[in-house]
Amino acid sequence: LTPYAELSPSELVRACACSQDGEAWVEFIRRFHVVIAAAVLRTSRHWVEPSRPQLDDLIQDTYLKLCENDYRLLRSFRPQCEGSIYGFLKVVAANVVHDRFKAALAVKRGAGQTEAIAEPIQVDPKTTDDSNFEAVNQRLRLQQVDRILTEVTKGKDQERKRAIFWLRHRQGLTASEIAAIPSIGLTTEGVESVLMRLTIMIRGHVLGTKHEVKVLKRQNRSKGLGS
């Protein structure tokens, strides 16, 4: 074993980014090969069932991507926790695979038929297609709910609560999908609980009563039964 085998993942990344020592890279490839290979394999399957040489090529491309421009990507890596490197390598591998297949698809379609790259455009709210009454109505409903939401979430964590609410109700993410976003910092149950409390509060506003969570407490259970 080389001395590099004793380094933590972050230390090993730094050693590879700052030195030209082949032993450091041998250890890096040995340690992270399965992570990169698995990410390449699963991402490739979104496009085709990849052959073994294809997978080897994509795995090699991922390592070379990490080394491009004087190890730019490796040097840009900022560990958020000890396991961050695995997420980082999966992201790099997924990007490499998607880029490779997109490029291959573009070549296959021919230069004249490649999809135009969508340029960011400024949308003027006054000129968007609002002729559809339902669209206008929907927008008004969303605005009304957003106003109420802003009011009921005033204070700490407002942005996070609003993000959770709209990820669920506008983007259609499930509670477990929302909880999977690291910056949300909640379990699935936590997200469900936030969503329910917000829904209750909004309901209260819509009905014109600012009542709080009305869920009956367990010690008073028998009173509410069958009433």
């Binding site: 082949g22 699963r42 980082f88 997924a94 709209w166 690291p182 209750i200």
Partner: protein
């Protein structure tokens, strides 16, 4: 444990039932959802009401995926967000954006789903497939490592010769010459390495200055950086790949040097400047405070520490930090009164503290030191803006009382106290010369009386 069907449904369970019902199509019968809901009207009503609102909101989900807007982040950001590559406080802004944007929301959802799939444990079939790849072999991995580092290992081993076979006269002469050469080269290397080490903080400083200019995100200046217009970072956090290349290089250099020189003030300052460019203001304050403990009266450290406090004050709305920034810049200017960076920066801090007159004074002082650079142009613009603010303020404020009005007691002392700074300024600037004129001019009795009033 068996659950008592007479127990009311708790918040966590109600939330779970709502979540499950949301994804069912068609009408949902509360009684079938949970046995307690069949028996308890109160819980059923609550559930039905919440479900109705949930359904209404579900109908507002747009099926369209419009083109990106101007403030949409790049598509690569979503995988980084889903993979947790950025700090949670930096990620919240793009997540919040995606929650309201019909272009980015689906991209985030796709990235989250993709990442969930990548995080699943490997199946046995996948493990076998990966193990059978050529890239899984040690030989392939060593070849790739050599390719990456551009080094080649030594050739095939040869049979070693016995040591006495080397002892011939020409070989001994060559060995002696080689030894001498090694000593000369070694001595040069030691001296050179020392010089290189000494030059490295300056190299880091140059890289940081270039990074600042390539992407100026700080309003205050850092020493040595050429002019660039301020780029207010728009919208959510940038991708981790978008940091200027010189910043990345400087950070690698600083990290490697701080390991062996953790108490070198020059490296601490370089680290703090990199932290400032990264937006890590707490870390910058800490590093500069350590540097100042080592070199207590360094104008450069004081100026950068002020910048760290100022940025943190703006980010976290910490009023004390604004004061600290002003104080440290004043200390730096006491040591180097004409330092253009400290003057430039103090004008900014003063304006933020509503010390408009002081801001204007610093701008004027700066323009006497540097009147022609692009920094000077920015200072001129700042001075004009401050002048306008002062003018607006003066036009809105009621005029100060004249000496005669003060002497006549036209206003209670408490109201004068509220504008004490302005009266003090007026007393020094106008009343004193009127009360004690030079030459044979006649003293203004009202001014004199107002000054007596002031003393009392």
């Amino acid at each position: 444990l068996e659950r008592n069907p007479n127990e009311h449904i708790g918040p966590a369970e109600l939330a779970r039932l709502l979540e499950e019902s949301r994804w069912r199509t068609g009408s949902v019968d509360a009684a079938e959802t949970h046995p307690h809901l069949a028996a308890c009207t109160s819980c059923r009503q609550q559930f039905d009401e919440l479900l109705a609102l949930d359904r209404q909101l579900k109908n507002t989900i747009s099926g369209d995926s419009p083109s990106p807007h101007g403030d949409c982040p790049g598509n690569d950001v979503w995988r980084e967000v889903a993979g947790g590559l950025t700090r949670p406080d930096e990620t919240l802004a793009p997540v919040e954006h995606a929650s309201r944007c019909d272009h980015c929301g689906p991209l985030l959802r796709e990235a989250v789903a993709e990442f969930a799939e990548l995080n699943r444990d490997l199946t046995e079939a996948e493990q076998t497939q990966i193990a059978s790849l050529e890239s899984a072999s040690a030989d392939w991995q060593q070849r790739l490592a050599r390719r990456i580092t551009g080094t080649q290992h030594s050739g095939p081993d040869q049979e070693p010769k016995a040591w006495w076979q080397w002892l011939s006269v020409p070989r001994l002469a060559m060995a002696g010459a080689s030894l001498l050469a090694v000593i000369v080269v070694g001595s040069w290397a030691v001296v050179h390495r020392y010089q290189v080490y000494r030059n490295q903080p300056a190299a880091a400083e140059r890289l940081l200055a270039r990074a600042y200019t390539e992407k100026r995100t700080l309003e205050p200046r850092i020493a040595g950086a050429a002019y660039a217009p301020l780029r207010v970072s728009r919208g959510p956090a940038a991708s981790f790949t978008s940091r200027p290349a010189p910043l990345l290089k400087a950070e690698a250099l600083i990290a490697s040097q701080l390991e062996s020189h953790p108490d070198d003030p020059a490296w601490l300052q370089a680290e703090a400047q990199a932290d400032l460019l990264e937006g890590k203001y707490d870390a910058a304050v800490e590093a500069l405070r350590r540097a100042l403990e080592l070199v207590p009266h360094s104008p450069a450290f004081l100026t950068d520490l002020a910048t760290a406090y100022f940025q943190r004050a703006q980010q976290e709305d910490r009023k004390d930090d604004f004061g600290a920034a002003y104080e440290y810049l004043s200390q730096a200017l006491k040591l180097q009164p004409d330092d253009p960076v400290a003057l430039f920066n103090r004008a900014i801090v003063a304006e933020d503290l509503f010390l408009y007159q002081q801001a204007l004074d610093d701008c004027d002082h700066y323009l006497r030191v540097d009147s022609s650079s692009q920094w000077a142009e920015e200072t001129r613009n700042r001075a004009n803006s401050v002048r306008k603010k002062l003018k607006d303020h003066e036009s809105k404020a009621t005029p100060l009382l004249s000496p005669a009005q003060i002497a006549a007691g036209a206003m209670p002392p408490s109201e004068i106290d509220q504008r004490i700074e302005e009266y003090l300024h007026e007393a020094v600037r106008s009343w004193l010369p009127q009360a004690f004129p030079e030459g044979h001019s006649q003293a203004n009795a009202d001014a004199l009386q107002a000054l007596f009033f002031w003393r009392s």
